[in-house]
């Protein structure tokens, strides 16, 4: 057994410790036709050149294949996501991270406006160590559950401006959801839960 083979085997043994690691596969599925693959490659390359995160685009393609979407529909979905990612980056600023941009794109898709995202960014500040991802996830969720986007944006913005933690924002989302399931109107649920959250934050030492 040569030393080279031994070194290779040791490296393999060491890599066993990293089992379970999952990274985004940046290839296009072979099930797609050649013209569709070419179109998607062009779209993703242009997104990459523009400095946009491309992992959500690859994921969107995989999701489309999993759901047996027709190829024109899949291309349209990737085009739309690319546009949303660009708009989200423009609204959140060049310092926004990939996760923030992806969450921002999703919030835009839920009916929020670019101005809502920019206001949120201003409220939180441009601190790289305190991203807006969770706030944007909560915002998109509320909008998809029937809360009017403008109202959701105002509430979440209020909480973000008061430095409410990500954990509390998720609790807030959960509580609003519970109220909605219980039959409360979106406006009433949002208003009550926002006030309760602000009171909680005030009472906190």
């Amino acid at each position: 057994m040569s030393v080279r083979l031994l070194a290779l085997a040791v490296a393999f043994a060491a890599s066993a410790g990293a089992a379970g690691a999952q990274d985004v596969d940046r290839t296009l599925p072979s099930q797609l036709s050649a013209p569709t693959r070419a179109t998607l490659e062009r779209l993703i390359d242009s997104a990459r050149v523009a400095g946009l995160p491309v992992d959500p685009l690859y994921s969107k393609v995989r999701e489309g294949v999993f759901r047996s979407a027709e190829e024109p529909r899949l291309i349209a979905a990737v085009q739309r996501l690319t546009r949303d990612l660009g708009d989200a980056r423009a609204a959140l600023g060049d310092s926004a991270g990939a996760e923030e941009i992806a969450a921002g794109a999703n919030a835009l898709r839920a009916g929020l406006h670019s101005a809502d995202l920019s206001r949120l960014r201003e409220s939180r500040g441009r601190r790289a160590d305190h991203p807006l991802t969770v706030a944007l996830v909560v915002l998109a969720d509320l909008a998809t559950r029937g809360v009017p986007p403008a109202m959701a944006a105002a509430s979440v913005n209020e909480l973000v401006a008061r430095n409410v933690s990500d954990g509390s924002l998720l609790s807030f989302r959960q509580n609003v959801e519970r109220d909605l399931v219980g039959g409360r109107s979106p406006a009433s649920a949002l208003d009550a839960r926002t006030r309760a959250m602000i009171d909680d934050e005030r009472r906190r030492p």
Partner: protein, 214 residues
């Protein structure tokens, strides 16, 4: 040719140096004959020269270790032990994190945020426990951005204690989009935030794993 500002003595020295050295015509003719007879260096010569150099280098004794049959057996045993040790360490870490996540999920039912990591700063990936109540289902799987939307990659198993379908995954920090596949039908996670991009028929869910530094 003299420089405009140079002194005259310098010009004289330069002129002397530039003067052609007288060589006997016979010597000159002989030298030119020798040059003409010498073979032209070709690309092939250059390649041959490099190959010779490489062969000389290859002949040098190299550092190597050779094992006999018993040595090979011992080395193979050592490797298996190393692999098993590394796997055991990874599994123990995953198990410890899973316990932590499980405790947190219990807390989530009482109102705390669900599916949010509170990993220690050293952790790079978090064990996230997904669970779904589907008592009449015969097969449940998880698909999402973390497994390339592959419906056979992450099956859930029924937890005998709670009766729920569960699976724990190691996920890197970030926002992950996912859905359950219940007997072939795509379902959202009722306990998680929804993603808005409903491009292919039904919405997805979102799980957020916080960065260890946040």
């Amino acid at each position: 040719m003299s420089e405009p500002d140079s002194p005259r003595w310098l010009d004289e020295i330069a002129g002397e140096l530039r003067r052609e050295v007288p060589v006997r015509p016979a010597w000159r003719a002989r030298l030119l004959d020798e040059v003409a007879r010498a073979p032209k260096p070709s690309m092939r010569d250059d390649v041959d020269h490099r190959l010779d150099e490489r062969a000389r280098y290859a002949d040098r004794p190299r550092w190597s270790v050779t094992f006999g049959p018993l040595g090979s057996l011992a080395a193979a045993t050592l490797l298996v032990a190393l692999g098993a040790g590394a796997t055991y360490l990874a599994m123990s870490r995953a198990g410890a994190n899973a316990s932590q996540r499980s405790a947190q999920t219990t807390a989530a039912r009482e109102g705390s945020p669900q599916l949010v990591s509170d990993a220690p700063p050293s952790a790079e990936r978090e064990v996230v426990r997904f669970e779904l109540s589907a008592p009449r289902a015969s097969h449940v799987a998880l698909v999402g951005s973390f497994n390339e939307w592959n419906p056979v990659a992450t099956p859930l198993s029924r937890d005998p204690a709670s009766g729920k379908w569960v699976v724990s995954l190691l996920l890197p920090p970030g926002r992950h989009v996912y859905a359950f596949v219940v007997d072939g039908d795509v379902k959202t996670d009722p306990s998680a935030p929804r993603a808005a991009d409903n491009d292919f028929g039904s919405p997805n869910s979102v799980v957020f794993v916080s960065s260890p530094r946040v």
